[in-house]
Amino acid sequence: MAQKQIHLAAHFPGVNNTTVWSDPAAGSHIEFRSFARFAQAAERGKFDFLFLAEGLRLREQNGQIYDLDVVGRPDTFTVLAALAAVTEKLGLTGTINSTFNEPYEVARQFASLDHLTDGRAAWNVVTSWDAFTGENFRRGGFLAQDQRYERARTFLQTTFELFDSWRGDEVVADQENGTFLADANAGAFRHSDEHFDIAGRFGVPRSPQGRPVIFQAGDSDEGREFAASSADVIFSRHSTREAGQAFFADVKGRLPKYGRTAEQLLIMPAATFVIGDTDAEAAELAHEVRRQQVSGQTAIRSLEQVWNRDLSDLDPDGPLPQFDPVVGENHVAQGRASVRMHKDPLATAATWRALAEAKQLSIRELMVEVTARQSFVGSPATVAATIDDFVQSDAADGFVLVPHITPSGLDPFVDRVVPLLQERGVFRADYAGTTLRDHLGLAFPG
């Protein structure tokens, strides 16, 4: 049986503690040259796409702007359009919120981006709905949690109607006969439901990919169903081998009821990596990186996100607190999606206490262990073999790699691991097509 081809993407690091900004090699997270350098490294490595996250309000903890991680980032659409000027083939994926935007405007921006990138645009649809973020927008915090996927679904559906309002053959621009449009009604649309009541003519003719590639990142049952029905790629958190296989089987198993096949929805978990000359060297380096990512202060702040209260008085090198987390809505950390992962803080606390006791871990040591993302650690040969194994054993279709140094952190992977994957025959030696749909093996929408 033919080997599966691996898909690779590069996540420009966002505003969390993955980035070791204190490293002397760490550069700007806002200057365009950092983005250009990072994107060009990804393209040199023949990656499928670059990925940008988004958060529409600066994070706060204990009522103050969170200052321990990178803060600040550019506007997603604008920086992706600029990156199209310094790359040729790399896909450009932006996270855009469906709550604090309107379908007409988002569709207009993505259709424009797809034209300006010659068919390399993708949209990671997210649905944060909190009143905290809403304070920056006209609508405010208006949406109950149980409505957010419904609104996201209808938002996406509405943009599809807008993208599809042009078939692609209307602009004839016949100078001789004076006919610019073949259809006097090109772009006409009407959509009416509980959330959106809009009508008119869409202003952007059909773009090279028909519509952008659609990403989904939610993990709940509703999120998985949303992805199975409408997305092309899932940006997932389940990146260990076993959890990845279970997630892969679950989500791909939901496709048939929507008349879709396994190739039509790619699963690409996020992963970090640390590469050394030998496995031992890489392991040592990885431990050091984790210590840098989780300072004593960061450990306390991470613990607060579960305990849901101020823990400034605790010693990070001391033991976990004896008292239990505050149960209820999390008021300590605002603007942070990860707090939703701890749905049952008492259970999380019990698990952590058991782990800390068994291994004799301080708060900081515990946080180093439990807040780790999936990481490929080893020599280039080990990392290449592991990634290949994950993909061939259906734990993923590929990975979205998040380096811990900006902007040069992708280089070791591109220079040392990619050639080994190419030798194995599981990763492209060069781009075969020009659009992101080509890279991902996705059909063009009819």
Binding site: G72, P74, F77, V79, N101, Y104, E105, H115
Partner: protein, 400 residues
Amino acid sequence: MSATPFHLAVALDGAGWHPAAWREPDARPRDLLTAQYWLDLVRESERGLLDLVTIEDGLALQSADPYRPDERTDQVRGRLDAVLIASRVAPRTEHIGLVPTAVVTHTEPFHLSKAIATLDYVSSGRAGVQVRVSLKEHEAKLFGRRTIPPVTPADPAVGPLIADAFAEATDYVEVLRRLWDSWEDDAEIRDVATGRFVNRAKLHYIDFEGAHFSVRGPSITPRPPQGQPIVSALAHQAVPFELVGSSADIGWVTPRDAAHAEEIVAEIRCAQTSAGREEETVHVFGDLVVFLDEDAHTAQARKARLDDLSGEEYRSDATVFTGTPAGLADLLAEWQDAGLTGFRLRPGALPHDLTAITRGLVPELQARGLFRTAYEADTLRGLLGLPRPANRYAGPTAAA
């Protein structure tokens, strides 16, 4: 007396401002949605040492009717988001200012603020924005968030509508500007000793509350390279003149002649003073649509041919100049004496009239000492003679 150089911009829109421009032999009507088309135009403008280009935009599909959609098939229809066009060309240009149009009626000031800040980053300090109000019923329906009645200028209902839309636009620009200042320049500290990436005492809530929106802030994007990118607006009458006077760095105006230009400038200066901005530089640029050729007869014949193709004489809110670069230079010099500080030329057809500006008009102006012979600054503010402004939130009382 020696001549004082003035500023020069071009307004890019589709195949040019004449509705039949796309039918000219050198037009590229099939390329209007490509990056290369826009890059070629902006680079040509930069070759002519122009201060800036503006890029027209609107929410709805274009229409020949100023108030309603149409179903015409003989004119250019469809266009790309102007902010994204500007950003796409930014890394491939070096000096010229990039001023996309953005609608400020239905959109989010938080989003536009960070978009223009980001344009300023990707262009290393060459960003601006032309804010545009939307009063059209059919544009409101694209968003479905509010109802705007169908009105024409003759309608008595139009006065309050205009006043409300421009009051919202004034609030909108205030939010853009506060968000740009919501990070002090030295907010990012990367202090390894204390583990802090930012000094949060230098990040500011803007706490804007208005009739149409409230915005808490701070921006998610640090203060852009220019501090405050350029804000501009097209203005034909008293209410928009007030927006220019209170909130903008450049007003685009449409005088009929030198005397009219003088009246407009006086009105804007008055609005500026009322807003307490008499010490600040507010540029007033005269807009003209131009059809330029080596001799005036050729230019007139070309425009007549385009008018024939479109079936009617081309009319504009701005004065239409048809003639030679030297003739245009005479007119601009006369209007400059009326108090205009620059001009924005709308090429009748692209690329012809743009090339006539950069290769015909510009040398003519240079010979008269009326235009720069090299770019003298790295930022758009620099080209316009505007200092980098102090941050409204910085100061001795704001210290950590």
